[in-house]
Each structure stands twice: as C-alpha cells, then as structure tokens.
C-alpha cells in the first residue's frame, strides 16, 4: 500500500508533457525501482505520480543519421543489454546495464530513471560520462540537449527544470567509434548491489599510443566525475604498464571520496587506483581487438 494521491498514465509523450505543464509538481515515475522505495520509506508521501510506463516511443533504441546512438529514456536495462546496436557499438554500456540490480530489477528499471534519480552510484553514470553522452530534455514548448556532466548537480540532485522530461540519452559517434571500453562495478556482491566504486574507461589507441582516453568514476565524489588530468596526461603517450600506472595514480586526484560506513576514504582511493588500472588495461586490450577487425 503506497501513500499516493493519484497515478496518471499518459499514452503519448505529448500528453505527458501537457500533464507536467499543467502540474509541474507531479512526481515522474519510470520503472519505479527508486520512487517506490522512497514511497515505502515514507519520504514521498502524498505524491501524485506521472507514470511514463505506457509511452512506448520512449523505449526505442536507434541509430540516427549522424551515427549518434539514441537510447530512449524509458528503455529498461535488460533491453539495453540485449540490444544489437548497443552491443555492436557500445559494449561498455551493455556491460554497465547488466551490472545493475538483478534480472527482475533490470526488466523494469530504465536508463532515464537511473539518471534522473541523481545517485552517484548509478550504474549507467560513469559509463555515460566516459562516452561523452548527451541528454535530451523536453518540455511541452521547448527542448535542450546538454552534456550529462552538466545534469548532475549533487547527491540525488539533477538539473531538471519544472515541466521538463528526460526523453533520450544520445551517444555521439565520436564518443564510441573505434574505441575499446570496460566498466568495472566494484561492489560487495556480484548482483543486487550498489557500487562501492564504479569505474569506466574508454580508450582509442593508434600505433601503440593513446589517441584518446576517457575515465568516468562513480561514488568517487558527490557526483559522477571524469578524470581529466589523467586523461590529458595519457594522450599521445605510449600504451604501457608504466603509463597506465601513472594514469591510475592521477585518476585519484579529482576524487572527493569520503569515509562512510560502506567504505573508508582510504579504501575508496586505493580502489580508484587499482580499478582504473584494471579498467584502462582492459579497455586498451579491447581497443586493440577493435582495430584488428
């Protein structure tokens, strides 16, 4: 039994936008795996919910003319994991998607919900950061496209304007093409867990040198982050254990890990170094495999 006043279930995106314009106080619910838990804990008591569940157009995953991979905000993680376009072009996103929850959760939890929930531990976040993902945000009258890094505002906070809906995640071609990627979800369990640290690395390698390296970290700071100094340092350098070790050491710098009962600051920082090393090494290996084709 949930403490809600009303449940609206529009069938089209336009209808949803109209409802949200009429009442910007509606609480948007996608898969429900976060909202329902908060309702059960009593923190959203008395809400009116706007469910996007019936809007099938928001579940589509397609390739746009310019090579951008568009993932509908309501695409559930199972679907993303299984999608041939995603698997062919962005295996790292499939990897991140399947790391989330368990099968039942992945069947209902959506990528849009995962992002809008604003959790620093969101399993999709570090990978989307590393892929330079863009978010498409729409109101009834307007639309804007912003880098995902500009969306996260703080723990559990996102830059969603009144009346606005996240409708799609855009993965520009430059972000994934010719690159190898690897996501490591470091958690206490192999399933049904939240990340102690999420580490995504995307690398492009040419003639044994880093053409491009992007590292996204979850749970390393109040919001997901990129390790720009480490990335910049790697650019043009020879792919070697020494380079990767240095990259891993530099990756700790932008982190703002803190001690909580889940893990200490020292341990998290140690994990950043170890996992960046492992993720970059694997990404490089996959980039090599990718070039060999």
């Amino acid at each position: 039994m949930f403490d809600i006043c009303e449940l609206l279930e529009p069938a089209t995106l336009r209808e949803a936008k109209e409802m949200l314009k009429a009442d910007p106080g509606l609480r948007v619910i996608a898969g429900g795996t976060d909202v329902l838990i908060r309702l059960q804990h009593g923190s959203l008591g008395g809400s009116s919910l706007l469910s996007l569940r019936r809007i099938k157009e928001l579940e589509a995953i397609r390739l746009l003319g310019d090579g951008t991979l568009e993932v509908g905000a309501m695409a559930p993680f199972t679907r993303i994991f299984e999608d041939p376009l995603v698997r062919e072009r962005c295996m790292i996103l499939a990897e991140a998607s399947v790391s989330m929850g368990g099968p039942q959760i992945r069947n209902v939890a959506t990528i849009g919900g995962n992002i809008c929930n604003g959790a620093v531990s969101a399993d999709s976040a570090s990978t989307l950061f590393a892929l330079d993902a863009l978010l498409k945000l729409e109101t009834l009258d307007d639309e804007r496209i912003i880098p995902i890094a500009d969306f996260y505002a703080g723990p559990g906070k996102v830059n969603l304007r009144p009346g606005e809906l996240l409708t799609a995640v855009l993965l520009p071609r430059e972000g994934y093409e010719g690159a190898g990627g690897h996501y490591i979800k470091y958690a206490m369990r192999k399933a049904m867990d939240i990340a102690t640290l999420g580490c995504a690395a995307v690398a492009r390698v040419e003639e044994g040198r880093f053409l491009d390296l992007r590292i996204g970290l979850g749970v390393a700071a109040p919001v997901p982050i990129r390790c720009t100094e480490a990335e910049g340092w790697a650019k043009g350098r020879e792919v070697s254990i020494e380079t990767i070790r240095e990259v891993a050491a530099l990756a700790v710098k932008p982190s703002r890990a803190r001690t909580s009962w889940r893990a200490s600051k020292e341990y998290r920082e140690h994990l950043i170094e170890v996992l960046v090393m492992r993720a970059v090494a694997e990404a490089v290996k996959r980039a090599g495999d990718c070039c060999a084709d």
């Binding site: 949930f2 369990r189 140690h270």
Partner: protein
C-alpha cells in the same frame, strides 16, 4: 542395513505445493473484517518515556485501537523457545513486556496501532506524541560491564545476564606444566537469519472466546504457553496454528510477534488483526546472532598434544535476554566431545547492551566458538611447524568417550573418515605442495576446520516428542506430529520412517503439516537439530505400535502368530515363506467394520528421549584472494558430514547447501552495522546487508560418512545446523595459507581485509598521495 524407503532420495511431500505456489503461509490466510497492526518504535537506544499521548492517533478515522504498555498486563515473560522448566532456577530470564515501558534499543516497540488498513495505521503512528528522557546507552559488552555503566534492566544492575561457566580437570596445572602455552583473541559479528518469509502472525478471538494465533513459528506449542503467560490467560485459552513456513533458522524459535498480535486483537474486541513485520523491522526487532569475543589460552606439548584449554567468552545479547546465556553455554559444550582435552575451563559472560536482541540462530553459539577454536588451532599448528590436519588428528577423542560434564557418550565418530574424504576430494596434499610461496596480486590457499554438534538438547532440557498415526480404510495412514516442518524436510523424513516400518509406499503416508495446538501432539518444535533424531524416535515408536496392531488383526484372520508375519509392500506376508497372507487393506477394513471386533488401528504416543548423539564434520576449502582489492572468493568447498544414517540424501544435501551458503555469508560478507554514537541500525535492509546472492555462492559440495548411531532411529544423527559451523574458520585458515595473514575477526569483508593487508604491508601505501 537394507531399507526400502529410509536412505532413499524420495521427493519432499511439499515440493509440488511449494513450487506451484499453492502452499499457504500465514500471510495467505484472510479472515473477514481483518485489521492491520503497526508498531511505534523507539528512535533512541535507551530512553524513558515520560509522557505518551495517543489521543490524536485514536481520533484518526480508520483507527480502531492504540495501545501502550499502560494498557497491557505488567507480567514480565521470557521469549525463548524452550520447554517449560518445572525448576524455577532453570527458566529463561523473564525480562520482557508486550510493549516496552522503557526503550532499550533503537527499534524497541513502545506503542501499537490497529487500523482498517496499513496506510492508516502508519499515519496514526506519526500522530502518537511521545516525550522521551534520553538515557546514556552502551553498545559493547565491555562498556556495559564498566563501573557506572547505564543500567538496562533494574534486576541486573551490572548488565550481566549470567556468568555461569563449567570446568573439569586442573587447567592451571596443565598450563604450568606445558611445553607451550598459546593465546589468541577472536571475534565474530552480528548477523541475521534472513529467512525469506517475514516474521508474521494474525490473531483473533474465536466464537468460543479463545484467542487464536496463526503464526509463522518453529515452536507452536511453546508459542501457546508464552502468549498465555504474557497475557495472563490460562494456557488452554490460547490456540496456535502453524501453516507452511518460509524458513526460520532459529529466529522463529522465539516468541517475537505473537503476544502483541494477540493483544492487538483483544484491543480491537477480538477482531482479526494481522501483524507482519517489514524486512527492516525483521532486522531490528526479532533476533540476531550473538556477537562474541573469545579469548583462548591453550596448553600444548612439544609434540602437539593439546593438554588444557581456558576459554573466556563475552557474548553480547542486546537489550533483552531472549535465549541469553543458553547460547554461550551451548557453545562451550560442543567442542569437548571432539578434542581430548584433559582440562577445560569455560568462562562465558552474557551481557545486556542497547542493541537489537540476540537469540537462537542456526548453530546456537557453535559457529562463534568453532571460528575461534579452529582458527586458534591453525595458529598453533603454524607456530609448532605442524600440518594443521596432523595437529587435529593427534588430538581427537575416540568412540566410547564420555563427556565428564553432560555424561553424553560418543557412540559413533566418523571424523577421521570425514577428514580423509575431504582431503581426497579437494586434493589437499597435491594442491598444497603445488602452491608453495606466492607473491602475486592473486593468491590461492587451502584451509580446513572441524566441528562437533549434538542431536537435541539432552541433558540440558526436556526432549519430548509426540506422534499419532491413524490407519485409514485402504491401509494408508495419516501421521500427526507436533514437530515443525519449516522447510528442512522433517515431514518427509517422518513419512519415510513410517513407510519403512509399515511396508507402505510414500504416497500412502499422509502427514498433517499444519499444526494446531488443539489437535497436534505435543512437541517442543524445530530447533537444536532435534527432530529427525528425537521426533524420529517417537514416530518410529508410533509406527511400530500400528504394525503390532496390524499383525494382531492379521493373526486373527490367518491363525498365524504375529511374530511369524511381517509387512511388505502393502501386504502382510508370512515371513519364512514370503507368502502373502492378506493385504493391509483387508486388515484395515476388518479393523473398521468387523461387526464384533471392529476397533480402528491408531497409535498415540510420545517419546521422552534421554540420550544424545554427537554429529561431526569437516570443511575443506580453497580460496582466491585478490590482494589488491581485499576480496576473498571461495573457489572450491567441501563439507563432509558424519550425521549417522542419512534418511534422505537429497534433503541432506539441501541442508548442506543452505548451511554452507549461510556460513560463507558469515565468513565473508554479512554483518549488521550500527552507528557508534546513536546505536541506530545502518543497514537493516537486504540491499545494505550483504546476504550473498546466487552469483556470490560457489558450487557447494556435500559429502557424507555414514556411521550408525544406536541412539537414534535407523542410526540417524543431527544435520540441520551442522553445515553452518565449520566453513568460516576453514575460509579464514585458507586466507592465512594464501597470504600468511591471520585474521581474528569475521567477516573478512573487503574493507577489513584491505586494512589488515595494509597494516601487514601486503598492500603498499599509494604512490601518489592525494591532497
């Protein structure tokens, strides 16, 4: 011995009902006009209630009743699921009220709302106005025993529930005369049972004016007694019904929700009230496993002969005693019939703190003491330069051993064979030789540990079990027991025993799985791994009584003497010739309808079992240690058990799989955490409490060494709790083997392993310091 049904992996009686979802659990029953009960819990670890105002809550539409301690009897009662003791000195500590008069932990129930629906009840809880006088609190046993520590219960001003211990021999003399004396400190965490089905009950007042409680319990007959005691009712005015149960693991060997469910119904003029805990509530207001700190001091000869041991235990029982000191005492009794110490001094202290209540949990104190002892033995073996297996083999007791304190006799002792089988299965010597010294980021190690356990509680408590059999017209039988099927498969095992004695196929033995204290024979319930052993004796006795009656009727029909016949495959046969003389159906029809001699064949009996049988086993394990991240994974595990005759191999394997999985969580991941300042639970849900998932669980290998123990029925000994005891120390010893690092506390979760590896230099300080 040759059996037809005993020893066979027959399908569990409830298998189809459970997998098809047709089996009905407590929450599947709905009564007309049913209400919902919810509880207001203390936000403080220790606080006096100076004022409580329920007027606003009562005024909320849909609220039927609001109760506090002031509305209820002031009878303090004990909740532990033990048979009543006629000796007042042997009873459990009576320290509980249905609703608390003073909050003693965060989550202590201080008021309850009964409403038309759950949401209204929840809302009403927020309308109860409580004024608290917050008191200082203590979370550790050490702090609770300090001079001037806050007093949690007035009748125990030093917070010590009990410090009763036992000893034999002269430990001090053994220490003084020993070649070596080794000491070690070991510590275990607080874990929770995490049974799938919540703790739940509903109660109503029946048309005859009696209180009926339907509950997910392991101990229906004891629940009846305790509900009656708590409410001040004659015991016969309460009836308890137990339908199918979704797991208990000892948590439901305690009375947690039933008295309050009954009180809620009484407050609502007898209307049915359901009181089902959320998972978050199950974590904080049912029971947990006692956290223990153990100090071991052992006298050992140069050759590795264990001479004497002095064990000091600090057991943190939380805010109420529950099973209290029984658990520390049980722990102290189990290792004695394993290693042949000449002198033992066992000094346990069970201490109150302002934490959730610790009670019975699978193993009942033994996982704690065997973690300490078996880790200690590996530490000793290292210091003596001995192989850990050799050290153990050198010190085992022998068949015929009699414990000097309990007087229990060891009649079967399969440990040497368990060790041999385990070593062979995991390829102990070959792998250990191959591993050698390792220095990489991934290291492997092998470890082992032994355990001993009992079958039931004799001679500590009463072991009484009832069984009743009715033979139907077609020769099939219906068995009633008071023992409780909670998922372990006891109903199936009892049916096998009956089928074996009466020469019946399994589908002609019905077992009434629903217990109703008005109807079911008396039995104290599912705990202490007692049912196959203790109730099995009663069931066999009842079946033999039926067999004798069948043979009497057959003798009347045939003119043969009863001892010339036996029962085989639904028939009475002349034993010497194997010739069928009549069918069981013929006999049953005579028994029902013979105009002169009709007297249906039934038996109604009980067994007061005043004997015990020790069970044994060993864990052999291989671990994979990720030195860089501190993650320990089990790559291979074998649990080899001596549980006497295995009545149903598939069910026995199931017990081992479940128990080992539980033990691996205990060893590596699971622990309840509390804020050190406030005593608030930090992870009382299944996301933050790291119960291992299927993916975290390795393939679990179960093996059995089948001894025959004359004490039990068909030679069976206990198994239910056994598999949970030895995996944790085996894993710890394997990590020691892999890394050379000796851990003294479980769980070995990554943060703790990281810290220890850094402390011991296995993980270096980071190359670039972050500022």
């Amino acid at each position: 011995m040759d059996h037809n049904v005993v020893g066979k992996s027959v399908r569990r009686l409830d298998a189809i009902a459970k997998v098809t979802g047709r089996a009905k659990y407590t929450d599947d029953f709905h009564e007309r006009d049913m209400l919902v009960g919810k509880v207001l819990r203390s936000p403080h670890a220790h606080a006096r209630i100076t004022r409580i105002d329920t007027a606003k809550a009562k005024a909320l539409p849909g609220v039927v009743a609001v109760i506090t301690a002031a509305d209820l009897p002031t009878i303090r009662f004990a909740t532990a699921g033990h048979p009543w003791s006629l000796d007042p000195g042997h009873r459990d500590v009576e320290d509980r009220l249905i609703l608390a008069d003073k909050a003693r932990f965060v989550g202590d129930a201080v008021a309850a709302v009964v409403a038309e629906d759950a949401l209204t009840a929840e809302k009403a809880l927020h309308l109860i106005d409580v004024e608290w006088e917050v008191l200082p609190h203590v979370l550790t046993a050490e702090d609770a025993m300090k001079e001037g520590a806050p007093v949690i219960h007035e009748f125990r001003p030093n917070n010590v529930v009990s410090s009763f211990g036992v000893q034999f021999g002269d430990v001090e003399a053994e220490m003084a005369g020993a070649d070596h004396v080794f000491e070690g400190d070991y510590e275990t965490g607080i874990v929770q049972h995490c049974h799938i089905e919540s703790m739940s009950a509903f109660a109503y007042v029946d048309t005859d004016g009696r209180v009926v409680v339907n509950s997910s319990t392991q101990i229906p007959h004891i629940v009846r007694r305790i509900v009656a005691q708590a409410l001040g009712l004659p015991w016969g005015r309460v009836k308890v019904i137990k339908p199918y149960i979704g797991g208990g693991f000892g948590n439901k060997q305690d009375v947690c929700v039933e008295p309050l469910a009954a009180a809620m119904s009484l407050a609502a003029h007898g209307r049915p009230v359901r009181y089902c805990l959320t998972r978050e509530e199950v974590f904080i207001d049912t029971r947990t496993r006692h956290a223990m700190k153990l100090h071991l001091k052992t006298a050992v000869s140069r050759e590795g002969v264990l001479k004497g041991i002095h064990v000091q235990v600090l057991s943190n029982t939380g805010a109420y005693a529950s099973h209290g000191h029984s658990i520390a005492m049980s722990a102290g009794g189990k290792f004695r019939p394993l290693y042949d110490f000449k002198a033992v001094k066992y000094e346990p202290k069970t201490v109150y703190t302002n934490l959730p209540v610790a009670g019975a949990m699978r193993g009942y104190g033994t996982p704690q003491i065997f973690f300490a002892l078996e880790s200690h033995l590996d530490d000793i073996a290292r210091k003596l330069g001995m192989d850990p297996v050799e050290l153990r083999l050198k010190n085992l007791i022998k068949v015929g051993h009699q414990d000097p304190l309990t007087r229990n006799v060891v009649r079967s002792f399969g440990i040497p064979e368990c060790i041999r089988k385990g070593m062979e299965a995991i390829r102990w010597e070959e792998k250990r030789a191959a591993l050698g010294a390792q220095d990489g980021p991934r290291r492997k190690g092998l470890g082992m540990a032994l355990f001993a356990y009992a079958s039931g509680t004799h001679p500590v408590a009463l072991e009484l079990a009832g069984a009743r059999i009715v033979m139907n017209q077609d020769g099939s039988v219906t068995l009633q027991v008071g023992a409780t099927e909670i998922g372990q498969g006891s109903d199936t095992v009892f049916a096998q025993i009956v089928a074996e004695v009466l020469g019946l196929p399994m589908d002609m033995v019905n077992v009434m799985t629903t217990q109703d204290t008005d109807v079911s024979p008396w039995d104290s319930g599912a705990y202490a791994s007692r049912q196959t052993f203790v109730t099995g004796i009663a069931v066999r006795k009842a079946a033999m009584e039926v067999r004798d009656k069948v043979l009497e009727v057959a003798a009347r029909r045939t003119g043969l003497r009863p001892d010339e016949m036996e029962l085989r495959d639904r028939r009475v046969v002349e034993a010497a010739l194997g010739r069928e003389v009549c069918t069981l159906e013929d006999v049953a029809m005579d028994a029902y309808y013979d105009r002169l001699l009709a007297a249906p064949i039934t038996s109604d009996t009980s067994a007061n079992v005043r004997i015990n049988a020790m069970s044994y086993g060993a864990t052999f394990v291989e671990v994979d240690v990720d030195v860089e991240t501190g993650k320990v994974e089990v790559s291979e595990i074998w649990n080899v058990h001596d549980s006497g005759t295995i009545i149903n191999p598939r069910l026995a394997e199931g017990q081992v799989h479940g128990g080992v999985s539980m033990a691996l969580g205990y060893a590596l991941l699971e622990q309840m955490l509390f804020d050190a300042q406030t005593g608030k639970p930090l992870n009382n849900n299944l996301l933050d409490y790291k119960l291992p998932t299927l993916l975290d669980t390795p393939e679990i290998n179960a093996a059995f060494v089948e001894t025959f123990d004359a004490a039990g029925s068909f030679g069976a000994k206990s198994l239910g709790e056994c598999p949970v005891i030895s995996p944790a120390p085996a894993v710890r010893n394997a990590v020691l083997d892999a890394t050379g690092v000796a851990f003294h506390r479980i769980p070995l979760y990554p943060q703790a392993v990281f810290e220890k590896f850094r402390e011991t230099g296995l993980i270096k300080q980071r190359s670039v310091e972050h500022v």
